[in-house]
Symmetry: D2
């Protein structure tokens, strides 16, 4: 096992949810040590959080800019920085670190506007510094297997894709109660133009793209906001025409009571279908035309090279969300060490996410008219 | 148990699939005896089928018209006739029997054109004779319970409905191989303007209407035909705006390998969600906002009056498709005997099915433009 | 379709549960008409029930003995009689009808004592008249398929069988409240020596024998009665050594809250395993050693001759308990018409059921000591 | 977050499976750093493994004894040692570290004989140094919730417990092929007297004890070895009488094709039942007598304090085996830091595991006779 890489973090201080997830994910496989952070935009909270998390005092920063400058100047500078702030606070730090050649791991969506995303894309190209999106669902072993099956042609010509990401946490007007997550995620200034489509729809879209590997040509989006006073969408029904003959439906909702981060994907081709649910993440249903459907299980019979490469423990012992998230961190470590890591969601995934949001909003403004990619 | 009613049948002879289903359904609860039939449009087959099924010789007919005339003239005339022919052969016999005041049980879709359906509607009104569509899925006990929950307001204000009916039997070009069912169901002359939308989409639409009890205002339909040379749609992705704030998605497919008549319905309102799958027809998932989801089971705790009214045996012993179909026949018997049977799919359901098909085709011809109901 | 056979019934009048099930099952496939009955041991109830069910007055009997005598004397005598009384009232009518050469369909367990069962066995042999037990679970299509797989050697040498039948309806002391079913089923005079083992354990044992087709050599039974004052067992944990190397566990319970007639069977051999649950009766899980498990579905790919022979409708449309029960009636009709019907549970199944109960009780009296078959 | 604790390890070098699991588990929550090890009994492999895992040279040991001596002498000595060797190599290192006051984390079963286990128990008492067994399944959030429900009396008086741990990896004679895991696990010298009962049966027994919290009074065990030449059991059917009226069945198998570490638990009491499967670890079914069953989900509505205390991420995002294992490590860290950690499986769990194995073997030698605890 090679020497650990050094990780910095922007955001993710006390009370933040996703920062903790990132740190667990970074730890699991032992490739990272967390050494520096600008953990909050509130200086006192940034300091308290850094101390609580055991950072050395000289690497606890109160703003991302000084962090980027200081770290870039150190011999033992961080090998990458994770940006786990609300969406509107991705661009600034991403730019600051990329400009200094420090690789970035960033929550999705990449930015709040397509323009900002394009600016970062230019920067990535100029600095030859990668930015990786934590589209962590792409790292589930059975999602990798799904992709491998599609690549191997086991489904034949792809025809139909149905993907959905359903939650219920915004079925009540939490933002009115001052709940922190709800407040920024329903605020267009902090979230960008997309509500559900930005927060979870981009995950679904990315996952569809990852597995099917077909470009989207156009979409027709119907966005809803069921909560009085909520500006951003909390529900979306989207029709997508992908290249060739692939026809898709993407559903995203944050207001369906009883559904807890239910991500479900199914793809049918001329020769077979696959179906995957996050709630039973360790298995992939595979129905070959004219045969009894099979339950392909992580680390079990029929699981292929790509699934096994990101599988840690024997079958039957479930691996979950954190393991998939950890795989992203492990693959980023590999990338930084010089490996080829073609499956990581890179700047293109970031751009695509913003295009998706932008097109959805455009289409919805025109009552569902087709919008081209 | 009152005296059995007399049933006649048009279509459903040798090799026919759905006629056998109707006869089993009619027998199960003991309300019907099958006494007369014009079982095939081919006279020899009509005669052979009638004999094989044990009909008296004088009630084996070779065409529906003579059957309608003869039966209408008998003292022991049939109490109802079931029409189980291909779609294009519904209108003729339906008209002939309605005109003579003989109640009609008819497969869906009611006719191949909206015009014909309207003609029958007029006839129903004039003759005060009912026509009942075999939208049998509406008779599953847990579907009845779903409707009861909606009516009782247990879901709050309805917001989202997702319904799908997925099959795979046309994933191969069976019509090219001369398979009888595939041949007429993919032929616009015999099926009407709808392929998948007519054959299974109407069931899904009807089921959504039955449970949610909201009118559809408009739809945007995307119809596909994945099999080269197939004229009618074999896949459909449809967006539906129902009245009030209810927003829906209806998926129908006949080309997704591994899916066997998978009908799935879920509805979310402001206070809760329900989900039902035909493959586990004896249970309804109910998630009340903020509570652990419950598995409400047929004849079990929590099942209500409407479910129990159409439930035959104790919980845990599955009832299935034929039982639901039989409930339609039993309720038609009740109707004929003078009972109020408000849940039966009547002429309005037939008209609505044709409107649905017609609107889908119109929308699809305009690349998914909204079409109003 | 040949002429309908005539069915009589002993027991099954007003308020009886299982008589209704028998009549539905007899009707479904159209092979039987119900023409005669001694439907209750209470004369008024027998008469009222017969009238209500539409029997001709001269075939409504007030006791099984006069029914047996009268029917035997008629030209249009019944072709078979169904005995659907409580257990202690099986022997008398069974004997009366067998002695007159009228085939008997009988609920399980056959009698309340092994002696009585042996007496009937002698009678069956002497009169060449069959008695068929309604071990209806053996007629589920996927149970037939399971048996076919075992016969074909697809599991290799059988090693392990786990079978269970779990209910909850006696988790409360219903017999104290005067509930009719509970009263006789917990009464050793009416039920015989077995409580749960007689009522549901015999079904489980029969199902294991049917699918595995191995004789039981010995068993070790642990019977419990959790309800104060209840004399008969309401829970049973039983170890069974079958012939060759097959080792089994049979669980039966009537006091596990939330379980509704959950019958589950799994068998493992050297080459594979199968698993079946009544709650998903239309599928059989099949795991071949070293391969991804397959979901074999009724009327679907991989379903074999034996399953298809008793399957009525296309896959995905669930068939249930009544359909399996109806298959027993249809096969009895075949038997009476001269067909070979080797899968029907006959007098040997009846004897075996009593041996099972008797051995369980003996073993339990000796604190679980092994008792040989 | 307090300063990281220092972890040593005995066993777990190259090619070892469970050592890797321990290290991931130790890393996940950030409470441990891995600093020392005697990672193999083969010196070269111990050295290579230590180097590969990034240990400092002076803390790579070639035998546990010198490791115990050296570490005990250091100021920065390890805070705990994990023993991840085959069973026969637990006792030696456990003794060596306990004698020096270094807390031990040990795989189960604790030792190969009850005598050795008792020796360690004495040592634990004398040295006031804890030894914790990695009965990791007890740390699943929904297992914690199950225990909380039992404690809160939500099931009423416990009556029935069914637990099983089913695998298939020994359905082939892997030990004949030289497979390392199979070789030692089927060898009584290295594994002790138990095969399946030691390897997985002890987990099942511990889990039953953990949730139900009832002592076992006696058991009747039927052990089988289906593979020719295999000395130890590879399948077990065990009847257990727990204190009060709780009656149990424990099944363990390593030879049922298609089952992958399937651990399933269900408990029924007078007021309700719970059911849990490792394959859907994030949910617990709860059926209250007379109510529709509920699906209680990790981090969801109805999950209680004990579940939430060991839950990391929002509901719907599955946590798995490694997370549960990590909870054990985190709770050990807490214990060492002075917290009360009453749920950790301590020396008593170790003793009980050996008693369970010993009693099973005794009973099986007497053809399933009852053996008292």
């Amino acid at each position: 096992m090679p020497k650990k890489l050094k990780l910095g973090m922007v955001g993710g201080g006390q009370d933040a949810f996703i920062g903790t997830v990132h740190r667990m994910a970074a730890r699991l496989d032992g490739h990272w040590e967390f050494v520096a952070g600008a953990l909050s935009s509130t200086p006192e909270r940034a300091l308290a959080s850094g101390t609580e998390l055991g950072l050395d005092n000289d690497r606890i920063y109160t703003d991302f800019d000084s962090m980027a400058r200081s770290e870039a100047a150190r011999d033992d500078r961080i090998d990458a920085v994770s940006i786990v702030t609300p969406n509107h606070a991705h661009f600034g730090p991403a730019k600051a670190f990329l400009e200094r050649g420090i690789p970035v791991i960033c929550d999705k969506p990449l930015t709040t506007t397509l323009e900002d995303a394009n600016t970062l894309a230019t920067l990535v190209e100029q600095t030859k510094t990668p930015i990786i999106l934590t589209h962590n669902y792409t790292a589930y072993p059975m999602i990798r297997h799904a992709r491998e099956m599609v690549e191997a042609g086991e489904l034949g010509d792809l025809r139909i894709i149905h993907i959905e990401y359903i939650q219920d946490w915004l079925a009540e007007p939490l933002e009115s109660f001052g709940q922190k997550q709800a407040s920024w995620r329903t605020d267009p200034v902090k979230s960008g133009a997309g509500g559900a489509i930005g927060d979870i729809g981009t995950h679904a879209y990315n996952l569809a793209r990852f597995v099917a590997q077909k470009k989207a040509n156009r979409l027709s989006a119907h966005l809803h906001s069921f909560m009085p006073g909520r500006v951003l969408d909390d529900n979306a029904h989207i029709i997508i025409d992908f290249e060739e003959q692939l026809r898709g439906v993407l559903l995203a909702s944050q207001v369906m009571p009883g559904y807890e981060n239910e991500i479900r994907l199914r793809i049918s081709g001329s020769q077979g279908s696959i179906e995957w649910h996050q709630s039973s993440a360790n298995q992939l249903l595979f129905a070959k035309l004219g045969e009894a459907p099979r339950i392909v299980r992580r680390a079990g019979a029929g699981a292929g090279i790509m699934a096994n490469a990101v599988s840690r423990i024997p079958g039957g012992h479930p691996e979950g969300y954190l393991e998939a998230f950890a795989t992203i961190y492990t693959e980023v470590a590999g990338l930084i060490r010089g490996e080829d890591q073609p499956l990581l969601p890179d700047i293109r995934a970031g751009i695509e996410g913003l295009e998706f949001i932008s097109n959805c909003v455009d289409s919805a403004h025109q009552d569902g008219a087709w919008v081209k990619f």
